[in-house]
Amino acid sequence: MGERSWYLTKQEIEQNSPSRIDGIDLKQETFQRWSYTTFLQELGQRLKNPQKSIWYSIVLCQRFFTRQSLAKNDGRTVAIICMFIAGKVEGSPRSVGDVIAVGYRVLNDKEPSRQEYEKLKQTVLTGEKFVLSTLRFDLEIENPYDLVYDWVKRSVKVDRDANKLSQAAFNFVNDGLRSSLCLQFKARQIAAAAIFLGSSFVKVKLPWDGEKVWWREFNVTKRQLWEISNQTLDVYEQDFLVPVKQSKDDETKTCHQGLEDHKGNVINVADKSRNVVGYVTSV
């Protein structure tokens, strides 16, 4: 019972999600995804959690919303719970008190009152079981970081190039977390696409000996590589102006900031990387 896979097609995610069934439109859900993933990235960094643990929390949270609806579950609360769980699973546990205090601060730019704190704590502790049950206690989630790092270390001989390439690839992995890529593709497939995007961004050549393409060991097809690259780059072109107007004030602030923070950095990447995708297609 319940052996449904955690991996879905883009169409399944966009058309049949529990939120969609509850009448939340795609635009709103996409915005919410952006919102809680950005929140988790910031929360994780403020808690000084390793990026692997942040990846974990974001995948948990995204998986949760493939089985529960945003109409009945607040994304920020679920996100806080997912960060709490991720810390324990990934070996960087943070106390429930720390997670909610920092979470509250990130969301509201102020300290919670005693009452708010206690209430949130109760919600997180009960909610933990609820999130774990919804996720069927499937706690084993692969991350792409080790895969990227190991492969680059093995395959790129010049240290300086290797460092540049891993860093660029990591950035693409992190930015890709705003999208639903982690629901569609396995960590190793995402790793391959990130290496690919990264290599063209920092202009490091990847080994290519005739018949054997380098991405084969990542168990990814050329078509998937193309799809992941494209969707990663789409992240940089999200336009949330409309949902920002519709949504509530506090939410707007966080997300809007997140968006702007990213924009300055990434548009550039996107422009350059667009050419890369053209290159993939022509291979």
């Binding site: 089985r67 529960q68 909610g127 206690f137």
Partner: protein, 503 residues
């Protein structure tokens, strides 16, 4: 439709159909374990009729929510799929109370407990070894050791350290399969041993010297030390290093394996606690001398396991290639092993309590009981066919229903384990000493080791009594003498003794 407000969660509906099932899908049959970790029940899947073990995850004292040890255990068990590793079938939740403390209706579906569902196993190795009169055969010991090493190899290639290998965490079913259980202390490790890990793991008697000397960077070799201790214990018929505290434990290790120095263990003098614990005088390695009654190949393998320096200790894979497993008598097929009545620490403990009460009653009445003491019997040294002896089937699902008649033992029964043959290792440590983590495979019970003793004497005994005496109920079932074609000698005379219930 608007998104939910801050703090809102959908707690009033049960998990979606593809989420965790409810514990109501199972019928609890009886409790088989109890410990710090939580209760363990034998239960039946109502839909399929399958018998399982339900291990409740205790949440009462968890200020930090779902215990991190349980999270680790679940994560690791879901990663390990191997016939010699206990199979975690699923996690189920209990819906909890329908009313809250004030008696108001409480619709929160997530207030109840959480259970891990395991395949049901009839025994643990310690419980089995401690049965009065029970003797393992050499092919049987080889069979268990091979399965233990195979399961552990699976853990180690998946970068899992078990960190609590001991007899009561090795579960055995009635088909002779041995499975590693209780991964509550297990951890993932990296090959470069980079992370700092705690050295307060592994039950004292099975804890390797590097942990006792304070190492915080270690690897799979720690489990192999424990395997060595178990291996010797099976052949020697009693625990080989029963220290009462950490200091005594190290001394016992040094008395057996010699004192460590920079020659036999480069770097040992820089271990955190080396100066506190280094032996006062130089001791010679005496493994061969202590265990000279072991056969050559067993001793050879044991020597490679009980190596002080973890970097020189044999790994699971190489141990499986050892001559020991490839020379006569070969390890037997698990399926050819006899079946035994269910023996879980919890049940045995309950029976023991019952028996103590009887004893006390007897004392009050000044009734004389014959003095009886039990100790494990060393394995029989004979050929590979021996395991084809009669075996006894317990009831398939309710083994305890067919339990042998319980004859109260003599008043000194509870001294089990104290009075044993040549006392190289003063067994005084058996009392309660040094169990840092004592949790049975499912049970997590923190029972001092003397609690393992099986409390009852089974039936009549004699030259061939072992087989017959076990339980009249089985006698009429037919087939217990090898109806499946395994036993060729129903009246097998002295052969029967090897699994017998004789003292």
């Amino acid at each position: 439709m608007a998104v939910a407000d801050f703090g809102k969660l959908n707690l009033e509906e049960p998990p979606p159909v593809w989420g965790s099932r409810s514990v109501d899908c199972f019928e609890k049959l009886e409790q088989i374990g109890e410990g710090t970790y939580g209760q363990v029940y034998m239960a039946k899947d109502i839909k399929t009729g399958e018998i399982v073990a339900l291990k409740k995850i205790r949440m009462d004292n968890e200020r930090e929510g779902f215990p991190i040890t349980a999270i680790r255990e679940i994560k690791i068990l879901k990663k390990l799929h191997h016939e010699n590793v206990i199979h975690l079938k699923e996690i189920v939740t209990s819906p909890g109370r329908d009313r809250d403390d004030q008696g108001k209706p409480d619709n929160n579906k997530y207030k109840g407990g959480i259970y891990m569902v395991f395949e049901y196993m009839d025994h643990d190795l310690t419980g089995l070894a401690d049965r009065p009169g029970l003797r393992f055969t050499i092919p049987q010991i080889k069979c268990y050791m091979k399965q233990l090493l195979t399961g552990l190899h699976c853990c180690h290639v998946n970068q899992v350290l078990h960190r609590d290998i001991k007899g009561s965490n090795l579960l055995i079913d009635n088909e002779g399969n041995l499975k590693l259980a209780d991964f509550g202390l297990a951890r993932l490790f990296s090959h470069d041993h980079s992370g700092n890990l705690t050295n307060r793991v592994i039950t004292l008697w099975y804890r390797p010297p590097e942990l006792l000397l304070g190492a915080t960077k270690y690897g799979p070799a720690i489990d192999m030390w424990s395997v060595g201790c178990i291996f010797a214990e099976l052949l020697h018929a009693k625990p080989i290093l029963p220290g009462k505290n950490e200091h005594e434990q190290l001394n016992k290790i040094f008395e057996l394996c010699g004192s460590p120095d920079e020659n036999n263990w480069p770097g040992v003098s820089k271990m955190p606690w080396f100066n506190n614990f280094k032996p006062a005088r130089v001791l010679k390695r005496r493994v061969k001398e202590f265990f000279k009654h072991f056969d050559r190949h067993a001793l050879e393998l044991l020597e490679k396991m009980l190596v002080l320096d973890p970097s020189q200790r044999i790994n699971a894979k190489d141990a499986l290639d050892a001559e020991y497993f490839w020379t006569d008598p070969l390890p037997c097929d698990p399926k050819s092993l006899p079946t035994y009545e269910s023996s879980h620490e919890f049940q045995t403990k309950k029976k023991r309590q019952q028996q103590r009460q009887n004893e006390e009653a007897a004392k009050r009445q000044k009734v004389q009981h014959p003095q009886q003491q039990y100790s494990r019997l060393p394995p029989l040294q004979h050929g590979g066919q021996s395991h084809a002896a009669p075996h006894w089937h317990a009831g398939p699902n309710h083994p305890t229903n067919n339990a042998p008649p319980q004859v109260p033992a003599g008043p000194s029964h509870h001294l089990y384990g104290k009075q044993r043959g040549p006392n190289r290792y003063p067994p005084s440590g058996n009392q309660s000493g040094g169990y840092n983590q004592t949790r049975g495979g499912y049970s997590g019970g923190s029972y001092p080791p003397q609690g393992r003793g099986a409390p009852y004497v089974a039936g009549p005994r004699g030259p061939s009594g072992g087989a017959y005496g076990v339980g009249a109920p089985n006698y009429t079932q037919g087939g217990q003498y090898g109806g499946s074609g395994r036993g060729q000698n129903p009246m097998g005379g002295s052969r029967n003794q090897q699994y017998g219930w004789q003292q």
